[in-house]
């Protein structure tokens, strides 16, 4: 821990800091909406922020990859004229938990893979991420420790950690430095502050225990032997195929591309819109053949995309442990429970391998 990279801010000055941030740029932060629901939305004053919040309904991916996004504009007035476009704005995301930062890192990985998604990269460049470390679990659905997303590592410009009377702030980029300098309110951290941060992290190791009875490194093995597991068949009867789990997932990025025409029939746009592998038309091709006809196959596909396929392709687990899919599922399909049943089912096989 390089002490030069740390600043502290008294809690009494926190509201002033937020208000000064708002005067600099559009600020988006978690806001309480009732019934244990939080959302990321633009704030106009510091009081709106909920510092203690469970993961928002939709993760901040909505700012990086909007639900509906124009990718092309065309004009057929004289002859076909096509303009690829990007919509972006300068934005400060405040209070992003480490699970959602992990989700943004997953999106970065995919959309900067070749051929690069230019629009995404432009939008990303204009967003500043200020993280907020969780000192404890948000609720029982989280499994962030299992995927290693409970400790801040990278992916943020500033990281706020609550240390009782004050926040300690880690500066991770020059974008972060700019905010520190422009707003004021921050003091250099002293050794004692760093010591307290270290203590908190040690404390967290006791609080955050692996939520699933296996280790991350065994995931490829586990999933390699679970393709025909009975767990998937059980999901067939539970899943309603509504697509909620993928809509709220911070690492789900599958999309559809559609065209829309103005009433004049002369101008229009092509847009990209979130789509879900859980929905019926997703894997259909001309002639009506559906390659994932059963809901069990679709649920299995979702789990394999989180825990298996992308490990080969991108070297990352595409689950951030935020628990949104389990929280939102109307049929009460719980990610941790599914993983646990998978482990139980394949335990015999695992033992056979290690003995």
């Amino acid at each position: 821990m390089k002490i030069e990279q740390y600043r502290i801010i008294e809690k009494s000055k926190f509201d002033d800091f937020i208000n000064s941030l708002i005067s600099l740029s559009k600020v988006v932060a978690p806001v309480y909406k009732g019934f244990k629901n939080y959302i990321f939305q633009e704030i106009k004053s510091a009081e709106q922020i909920s510092l203690k919040y469970i993961p928002t309904i939709i993760p901040p991916k909505k700012y990086f990859m909007p639900q509906r996004e124009t990718i092309l504009q065309f004009d057929v007035n004289n002859e076909l004229k096509v303009d690829p476009v990007v919509e972006y704005e300068n934005l400060v995301l405040f209070g992003v938990h480490t699970c959602d930062i992990a989700g943004i890192k997953c999106l970065n990985m995919v959309l900067s893979d070749k051929p690069k998604d230019t629009a995404y990269l432009i939008r990303k460049k204009h967003i500043t991420i200020i993280g907020l470390e969780c000192n404890d679990y948000c609720d029982e659905y989280a499994s962030c420790s299992f995927v290693g997303a409970h400790i801040p590592t990278t992916g943020y410009d500033l990281m706020f950690t609550d240390l009782g009377e004050y926040f300690i702030v880690h500066i991770h980029s020059s974008k972060g430095t700019d905010i520190i300098e422009k707003t004021g309110f921050f003091k250099p951290a002293k050794d004692i502050n760093i010591e307290e941060l270290r203590n908190l992290r040690t404390q967290k190791l006791k609080i955050f225990n692996n939520e699933v009875p296996t280790e991350r490194r065994y995931l490829p093995d586990l999933f390699d032997r679970s393709f025909n597991a009975s767990v998937w068949k059980e999901l067939e009867n539970k899943c309603l195929s509504c697509g909620n789990c993928t809509a709220v997932c911070p690492t789900c990025y599958c999309f559809d591309i559609k065209d829309d025409v103005d009433l004049t029939l002369k101008v229009g746009e092509r847009y990209r819109i979130w789509f879900s592998c859980q929905l019926d038309p997703f894997a259909k091709v001309a002639g009506g053949i559906d390659f994932r006809k059963d809901r069990s196959a679709r649920q299995r596909h979702r789990f394999y995309r989180k825990f298996r396929y992308h490990i080969d392709r991108y070297g990352m687990v595409y689950c951030t442990g935020c628990g949104r899919c389990s929280r939102t599922c109307m049929a009460k399909i719980n990610l941790k429970e599914v993983l646990t049943s998978l482990i139980k089912e394949s335990e015999a096989k695992i033992w056979r391998k290690w003995l």
């Binding site: 476009v85 919509e87 995919v110 230019t118 559809d256 789509f275 995309r305 396929y309």
Partner: protein, 278 residues
């Protein structure tokens, strides 16, 4: 919210002009296309392009002309959906949008020096025609070339003139069958699988390229394995509804493979243990 034009977007389209339209059957038309800036579509047989009609949509279509033809390229389109039906209503001289090529295409460098067995079912002939024309253009680089063709009825036979010529050529072995014949049909009747046992090939030095409707693959592969073809010499091209063509949208995913990026051509070895592939 600022909105700017980004010409380097991977979704940008190249304007292309329809040079000629040829009705092959009742439902399939062949479009001869050239880029307006007369640039060359540099592709491999088996690769596909995204064809756009502004305001209607975008579809993946495999290129069916020879990759060595630098003056124009061709696509064969069956009218099944919104975009394809609209394409059929276009006229010569109309402008469409094109991006690509995408996908891996047939591994030509591997096939060269070997015998080639082409098995096309129905519209599967379209991507394979590109390979056939390439092989004919570079005939001396290939060993024996066998072409097996199957379709439902004689009326649905694509590229009838070319097929006739292929049948006459001495350097090609050609056979064709239809599921249901009519009184004028003089050729074979039966499924395409019925042609496979009769062909005279050396399985060790033969690459088979198979494209057709999903149902066809299972049975054809069975016959090819019975013939003794190694699993990594059976090449299959898959159909999925790609939306981006760049391994992002997830629509064409077959387990950990993206049909648009890792495919659409796979060896049977790659997918033999994969559910959801066939």
């Amino acid at each position: 919210m600022a909105k700017v034009v980004i010409k380097d977007s991977p979704y940008n389209l190249k304007r292309a002009k329809i040079l000629d339209i040829n009705s092959l059957t009742e439902k399939e038309k062949l479009f001869k296309i050239v880029f307006e800036d007369h640039s060359w579509l540099d592709f491999e047989p088996g690769q596909f392009i995204m064809v756009s009609l502004a305001g209607i949509g975008e579809i993946p279509v495999s290129v069916c002309s020879s990759p060595l033809n630098r003056h124009y390229f061709e696509i064969c389109v069956r009218a099944v959906g919104k975009v394809t039906n609209s394409l059929h209503r276009l006229n010569v001289g109309d402008i469409i949008g094109v991006r690509g090529p995408y996908g891996n295409g047939f591994p030509i460098k591997m096939i060269e020096g070997h015998d080639l067995l082409i098995i096309a079912g129905g519209l599967g002939l379209a991507p394979l025609r590109s390979l056939i024309l390439y092989a004919i253009d570079n005939r001396r680089d290939f060993g024996e070339i066998h072409i097996l063709l199957g379709c439902k009825t004689p009326q649905e036979l694509l590229f009838a003139n070319e097929i006739e010529e292929w049948g006459r050529r001495l350097d090609l072995h050609f056979a064709c069958t239809v599921d249901r014949a009519d009184p004028d049909w003089k050729g074979n009747v039966g499924l395409i699988t019925s042609l496979i046992p009769g062909i005279d090939i050396d399985p060790v030095r033969t690459y088979a390229a198979v494209v057709g409707p999903p149902i066809m693959y299972k049975f054809v592969i069975k016959e090819l394995l019975a013939k003794g073809l190694p699993v990594d010499q059976i090449l299959l091209s898959f159909e999925r509804h790609m939306k981006c063509g760049m391994g992002k949208c997830g629509r064409c995913q077959i387990q950990n493979l993206y049909c648009c990026k890792d495919g659409p051509v796979f060896t049977f070895k790659e997918i033999m243990d994969m559910a959801e592939a066939l």
